[in-house]
């Protein structure tokens, strides 16, 4: 198994990518994943996102689907995930992530849009056939300084559920 991190932030190397990577690191340590993460920073592929034939993205969608565990991450735009993240997942066929386990992760300025991760991002992953055993993780800007603590609180309940789903 490998952990794939997919980040739909228009800015490359964003803080959302930082949080998503920290989640992947935390899971990797707990599950003893040897292989390095597959990082898909969609900002680097913006020009290809609406091009259905783009070969690099075809390769990335296949690699993400083969990883086993996916951290799907987005900043909050207009109270939902970004169109950029959606454009990446739109490329899959029906049930394109069947057999994968996914963690929905969103970042935002304040808790007022925290439900977006449950009402918008989770159903997208479920529609793709992924198993989403944990609560979604919503991390706010004031938490960025000590993101390990937020991830730790989420992981306490989340890791046993992920372990069961992955076994």
């Amino acid at each position: 198994m490998r952990i794939a991190v997919v980040v739909g932030n228009p800015k490359p190397a964003s803080r959302t990518l930082g949080v998503a990577t920290a989640v992947a690191d935390a899971l990797s340590a707990r599950f003893g994943v040897g292989e390095s993460h597959l990082i898909v920073d969609l900002a680097e592929h913006a020009g290809d996102l609406f091009d259905w034939g783009a070969p690099r993205l075809a390769q990335l969608t296949a690699e993400v689907a083969a990883a086993g565990l996916i951290v799907a991450a987005s900043p909050t735009y207009k109270a939902t995930y970004t169109g950029m993240l959606k454009a990446f997942f739109d490329r899959y066929g029906s049930n394109g992530l069947a057999g994968s386990v996914a963690v929905p992760l969103m970042t935002g300025g304040a808790p007022i849009h925290a439900l977006a991760v449950e009402v918008h991002l989770r159903p997208l992953l479920v529609e793709l056939g992924a198993t989403v055993p944990t609560r979604g993780l919503y991390v706010t800007e004031p938490e960025f300084a000590d993101v390990g603590a937020s991830i730790g609180r989420w992981a306490e309940a989340g890791v046993p559920l992920l372990r069961r789903a992955l076994s």
């Binding site: 207009k78 169109g83 993240l85 454009a87 739109d90 300025g109 304040a110 997208l124």
Partner: protein
């Protein structure tokens, strides 16, 4: 009460995220626009229809998403929306939601651009299983944009196209749209209540507010997104 003679035509903007030419999304939007034109005519009003095909400006949209740079083509589309009295927004359903192209387009719009404007939502899909997408996934986005979204949403799966029930819904939505345009709701909001809406600093709203909405506190208060 004004009569047809002294009234400017209503400007109706159709936004379609369909990828084909023609596309089901465009077809559904066109049917609704035609009905709106007919209903308005019955009321003694004329309607001019402008179409924004997102597939034709997809590269411009991704440029705007990444760099906040608005090409002239995208700017023209935004101007059409800003000047519209009513909007029909239509998308194909992918993965139980509006397409990434549709979402990206509405995400790059200024939050103030569409306040109070009447909108009919439309979605087309390969299966009836996704009939809730317009009301479950699209309506919240337009709530964020503070549009006056018509109560009737349109949805068409393949079997709906030959079902008279779809035309009934289209008629319903078209009448709602025309009545909302006639009410002048968006203009009245702008004239009487503009300051009571949260505006982002430097927005295209057109009316300055006295609060510095660009401060960190206000940015957080308005749910500003993290980067």
């Amino acid at each position: 009460m004004s009569t047809a003679g002294d009234q400017e035509p209503f400007r109706l903007a159709v936004v379609s995220a369909g990828t084909g030419d023609p596309s089901a999304s465009r077809l559904l939007a066109d049917r609704a626009a035609e009905r709106a034109v007919a209903v308005a005519a019955r009321h003694g009003m004329t309607v001019t229809v402008s179409v924004i095909e997102l597939r034709e400006i997809s590269a411009d949209i991704s440029t705007a998403v990444v760099s906040r740079l608005f090409t002239p083509k995208l700017q023209r589309a935004i101007t059409v929306l800003g000047e519209a009295d009513g909007i029909i927004a239509s998308t194909p359903v992918y993965k139980a939601g509006p397409s990434g192209l549709f979402t990206s387009f509405f995400h790059v719009l200024d939050n103030d651009l569409l306040i109070g404007k009447p909108v009919v939502l439309a979605a087309t899909a390969g299966t009836a299983r996704h009939a809730l997408v317009a009301d479950d996934q699209m309506r919240p986005l337009f709530a964020y944009l503070r549009t006056m979204t018509a109560p009737t949403s349109l949805f068409a799966a393949p079997e709906d196209w030959s079902d008279p029930a779809l035309n009934k819904r289209i008629d319903r939505a078209a009448l709602e749209l025309v009545l909302l345009m006639e009410s002048g709701f968006a203009r009245k909001i702008r004239d009487e209540s503009w300051d009571s809406y949260q505006h982002e600093y430097g927005s295209a709203g057109g009316t300055e507010t006295s609060i510095d909405l660009g401060s960190d506190l206000m940015r957080l208060a308005t749910g500003g997104s993290a980067s």
